[in-house]
Amino acid sequence: MFKQMLAVQWRFSRKTIAAVSVLIAILPALTMRLSAVSTVNYTPRGLVQQSIALGLVLGMFAVLTGLFIYESTWRNDTSGKNVYLLSLPITWRQFMLNRLCGALLLLLLPALCLWIGGVIGTAFVPLPPTLHVYALGVAFRFFLASSLTYCLWSALVQFSGQKATLVFLVVLLLAIIVPVIIAITGVALPLETIFRWIADPPSPVSVFFSRWAIIDV
């Protein structure tokens, strides 16, 4: 059953996966090549900055890949109001779990391509002794970020209208009402501490905020 579900997921999302995989495999090599020909950036500092900039692009790609994989797979069910899914002899939980496992396997592919692309791309750049290549680490981050996006988006989309409204109201409360109250009352909230709590390890969300540099010190 899982094999068939995976085959169907692959069928639905193969074009997206192929496009993303090729693109992120080429990106590091392309960026490093541009660095190598540029005299301005071909310094240790320049290389790291270039690498961090590339990391931002990769991070965005990771988020978009997670979203695309979800949408390309589930769109086929939601367009039919989930009638097919619900008529199959499998619990919703089992189905979701199978879909998640399938998605994680599929998300490994672009991460693998990123790793290979990173290794090959940096191989042509003669690195100063203070710098190192972190292609595997970035590829792993890409996998974690895209997987986490898939999971978060799944959870959000599976919410009922009521729950989605509740989440929206909470976000609205945090984004608008709290700053207004702070402005009126003058209470100093440790906003930076709260942000660090969300963005720093061991929070899973930290994967989006950490450095994604393929070349770093």
Binding site: V8, V83, L86, S87, L88, P89, Q94
Partner: protein, 301 residues
């Protein structure tokens, strides 16, 4: 053996407009149950509630011994379902759809699936989204039958199909039922189609089940009578008057349910004359039943 489907006091509400209230239904094991009703009467909603696809408000639903929706995945393993509209993944080919569907069923009969695919002339490499309505109907029927189900639930399986395809689909269904003795629950508004294959009939209207009885009783029990000189209000009638229309002079046309030939004497005792008893076909019976359920005759008539 217990009933294949057993529903008691089923309640459901969809917005302010539509509700199913206190629905009770029994589908005997081995029967071919025709579920009749006009469009929008609640047939598809009832089926979805029955299969655990919608959360019921209250009541009990038991399908093949499994309480729904809790035991839905156990029950669905023994159910072949053909929904009202094509529900399969549009981008898969016929072959991929069959392989995908098969992976969920332990009793899947691959040889039967291949036989039906050839019989229905479905090309394995065609994508589902490009199938004609007839081909899509055949594919859904194939998937339902090849799972070798104990219960077939068919929601308007032939709606919109041309007569040739309809004959193919119903032919495969009848052959399967004869071979396996499967219980069939078939919803439709095509009354004459049900008449040919069903041995039980349930009639749904406005979210209520207005009648449930064996087909022979349904066919035999509803008659059109020509009555002359009947009093406007009569008490103690041994049958149910569904409608009563003046034809000419004192002659009236009655449509009655629960008619037996010996009841003719009742008219003589009441001073009226029974001039004729006519059979109604299933469609006329169905229409009269709906008419009477929507505007019931006052008491004593």
């Amino acid at each position: 053996m217990s009933d294949a489907i057993h529903i008691r006091n089923l309640g459901y509400r969809a917005g302010k407009e539509f509700a199913i209230r206190d629905l009770a239904m029994t589908v005997p094991t081995g029967s071919v149950y025709g579920f009749l009703g006009p469009n929008g009467s609640g047939k598809t909603t009832t089926i979805r509630l029955m299969l655990g696809m919608l959360p019921k408000l209250d009541g009990e639903v038991t399908v093949l011994g499994h309480s729904m929706p809790e035991g839905a995945h156990h029950a669905l393993a023994k159910i072949g379902f053909v929904p009202e509209r094509l529900h399969l993944y549009q981008t898969l080919t016929v072959e991929e759809s069959i392989a995908y569907h098969a992976s969920f069923y332990k009793n899947w009969d691959a040889a039967e699936a291949e036989r039906l695919r050839r019989e229905f002339a479905l090309r394995a490499e065609n994508t589902v989204g490009r199938l004609s309505k007839g081909e899509a109907g055949k594919l859904m029927m194939l998937l339902a039958l090849a799972a070798r189900p104990d219960l077939l639930v068919l929601d308007e399986p032939t709606d919109g199909l041309d007569p040739v395809v309809r004959r193919d689909v119903l032919g495969a269904l009848v052959e399967f039922v004869e071979r396996k003795g499967t219980t069939v629950f078939i919803s439709s508004h095509l009354v004459h189609e049900q008449e040919r294959i069903c041995d039980w009939v349930g009639v749904m209207d406005g979210g209520r089940l207005v009648a449930e009885l064996p087909m022979h009783a349904f066919r035999a029990g509803i008659k059109r009578l020509r009555v002359n000189g009947a009093a406007p209000v009569i008490d103690g009638m041994p049958f149910v008057v569904l409608s009563r229309d003046l034809v000419v002079g004192h002659e009236e046309q009655w449509v009655v349910r629960g008619w037996q030939p010996e009841m003719a004497q009742w008219f003589q005792r009441g001073g009226a004359e029974l001039r004729g008893v006519m059979d109604l076909d299933l469609e006329e019976s169905f229409v009269e039943l709906l008419r009477s359920s929507r505007s019931p005759m006052p008491e004593g008539n």
